[in-house]
């Protein structure tokens, strides 16, 4: 579909939100339901809980649009679903339930994290986010996409391998090198 058509379509859907027309939720579910469900499922590993997070996503979208007017509704919804799913994941983990792909992803990220809890402060979080973005720009598009597939979308290494036409071992190696490179990058930026 042409970019202009896609933009026009999204803007018209946002108009439904602004008009508080509840058809917006139904159309959102039809267009983005499967996409958001896959994100939630990757994090939670449970179909029922994933569906609850998706339903909560629509409610959150309804509550925040307007005044928010996202440039990409699809990615805005992805971010909400991811946050909600991860919050639920953390509750499950505290209750000693769960343990799935998200646990593996967090274990990998622990190689980079230094355990310093001062990062809760907003300013430092923003600096870290911007630094990670600068780091991703140093990578090839493929390696950047693989990083995002693993650590944003929480896809399994076998899913990523299939998507990019690589062997699982290659994906594992690319992720390992990328994590090491990110750690070095953040150290040079004095953020670790």
């Amino acid at each position: 579909m042409k970019y202009e058509d896609r933009t026009k379509r999204m803007e018209s859907l946002l108009t439904l939100y602004e008009q508080r027309n509840e058809d917006a939720l139904r159309i959102t579910n039809e267009r983005y339901g499967a996409y958001c469900l896959s994100i939630a499922r990757n994090i939670l590993g449970d179909e029922g809980e994933a569906q609850e997070c998706v339903n909560d996503t629509w409610l959150k979208a309804w509550q925040t649009i307007p005044p928010k007017k996202p440039n990409s509704l699809k990615l805005y919804l992805a971010g909400i679903t991811r946050n909600l799913s991860f919050n639920r994941y953390k509750e499950k983990t505290r209750a000693k339930r769960g343990g799935n792909e998200t646990a593996l992803v967090l274990d990998e990220l622990s190689e980079i994290a230094d355990g310093n809890e001062d990062v809760e402060k907003t300013l430092i979080r923003q600096e870290l986010r911007e630094a990670i973005e600068r780091f991703l720009l140093t990578l090839s598009k493929r390696d950047s996409d693989i990083f995002v597939c693993r650590y944003f979308y929480t896809q399994s290494q076998s899913q990523i391998a299939k998507r990019f036409g690589l062997k699982e071992g290659n994906v594992r190696l690319i992720l390992l090198r990328t994590r090491n490179a990110l750690k070095d990058f953040l150290k040079k930026e004095h953020l670790l």
């Binding site: 579909m1 058509d5 896609r6 379509r9 018209s12 859907l13 058809d23 139904r26 159309i27 039809e30 267009r31 983005y32 339901g33 499967a34 996409y35 469900l37 896959s38 440039n71 990409s72 990615l75 992805a78 971010g79 991811r82 946050n83 991860f86 953390k90 992803v105 967090l106 274990d107 990220l109 622990s110 980079i112 994290a113 230094d114 355990g115 310093n116 809890e117 990062v119 809760e120 979080r125 870290l128 986010r129 990670i132 973005e133 991703l136 598009k141 493929r142 950047s144 996409d145 995002v148 597939c149 650590y151 944003f152 979308y153 998507r163 990019f164 036409g165 690589l166 062997k167």
Partner: protein
């Protein structure tokens, strides 16, 4: 920072990092094999061209069968193709058929062919599609050939049943194709002769209406009765027509069910 905080911060990345290119990158070995296969194919086609420039060489078919490219179909059809799936089938059933690959791509070329079964003629079309996104299946190459139920040009005042969608296909058009993957068991028999369909195409469309969704100049072209869930989206959005992105969402939703 803790690992959980890092995970949360990654969740705040700008949108421009989150759009993933979906085109599969083939492993180097497979790329080399594909390149080698192309060289062999080009050599074979060149040698064939020296003998007969319009003939398609048939590797598996035996008997008195030949296939040639033609510029256009005649003003009448000596034989009318009948679809192999004549009963009603829903959009979900189409998408869930195990022998059907589903991919999005652009129409690179459309060419007519005449198949001679011991002198008896059948006109069909071959569409070359450059594959951009694969939803199910594993096309062997980036460009695949689909055998169409009939030729691409119709004589005036001629109408062939079950051809509303595919009769509007054009070069350069994008579409989503639900194409039957051919193996050596898929044949066409006529006048006592047998053509192995894999000799002329990797895929086939089972009729001209239900097995693809085309992105036309005025909107999507598809069978609204079979793909009724897609049509429901079109009706509710209030737009003049749905888009190929809607069709993509419809396909992914059914495949994920």
């Amino acid at each position: 920072m803790t690992k959980e905080t890092l995970f949360e911060i990654i969740g705040e990345l700008d949108d421009r990092f989150l759009t993933i290119e979906t085109k599969k990158k083939k492993p180097v070995t497979r790329t080399l094999l594909t390149a080698a296969a192309c060289v062999v194919l080009c050599t074979v086609l060149t040698l064939s061209w020296i003998g007969n420039s319009s003939e398609i060489r048939l590797m598996r078919t035996e008997g008195n069968v030949s296939v040639n490219y033609v510029r256009k179909t005649p003003h009448f059809f000596p034989h009318v193709y009948h679809p192999s799936v004549s009963d009603y089938i829903s959009g979900e059933e189409i998408l869930k058929r195990g022998d059907v690959d589903i991919f999005r791509g652009e129409v690179v070329s459309l060419r007519n062919i005449v198949i001679l079964y011991n002198g008896h003629k059948e006109y069909r079309g071959l569409a070359q599609i450059r594959v951009d996104t694969v939803y199910r299946g594993s096309p062997d190459t980036d460009t695949v050939t689909i055998l169409m139920p009939f030729g691409f040009w119709f004589a005036e005042n001629m109408w062939v049943e079950n051809t509303f969608v595919i009769s509007q296909i054009k070069e350069g058009m994008e579409g989503i194709f639900f194409a039957k993957r051919y193996d050596t068991e898929d044949v066409s028999k006529m006048n006592g002769e047998t053509l192995v369909l894999k000799d002329i195409a990797e895929y086939g469309l089972l009729d001209g209406d239900r097995w693809c969704i085309l992105d036309g100049e005025d909107g999507l072209i598809y069978d609204i009765f079979v793909h009724e869930k897609l049509f429901a989206v079109q009706k509710e959005t209030g737009y003049l027509s749905a888009t190929l992105e809607d069709a993509e969402a419809y396909v992914e939703k059914i495949l994920n069910e």
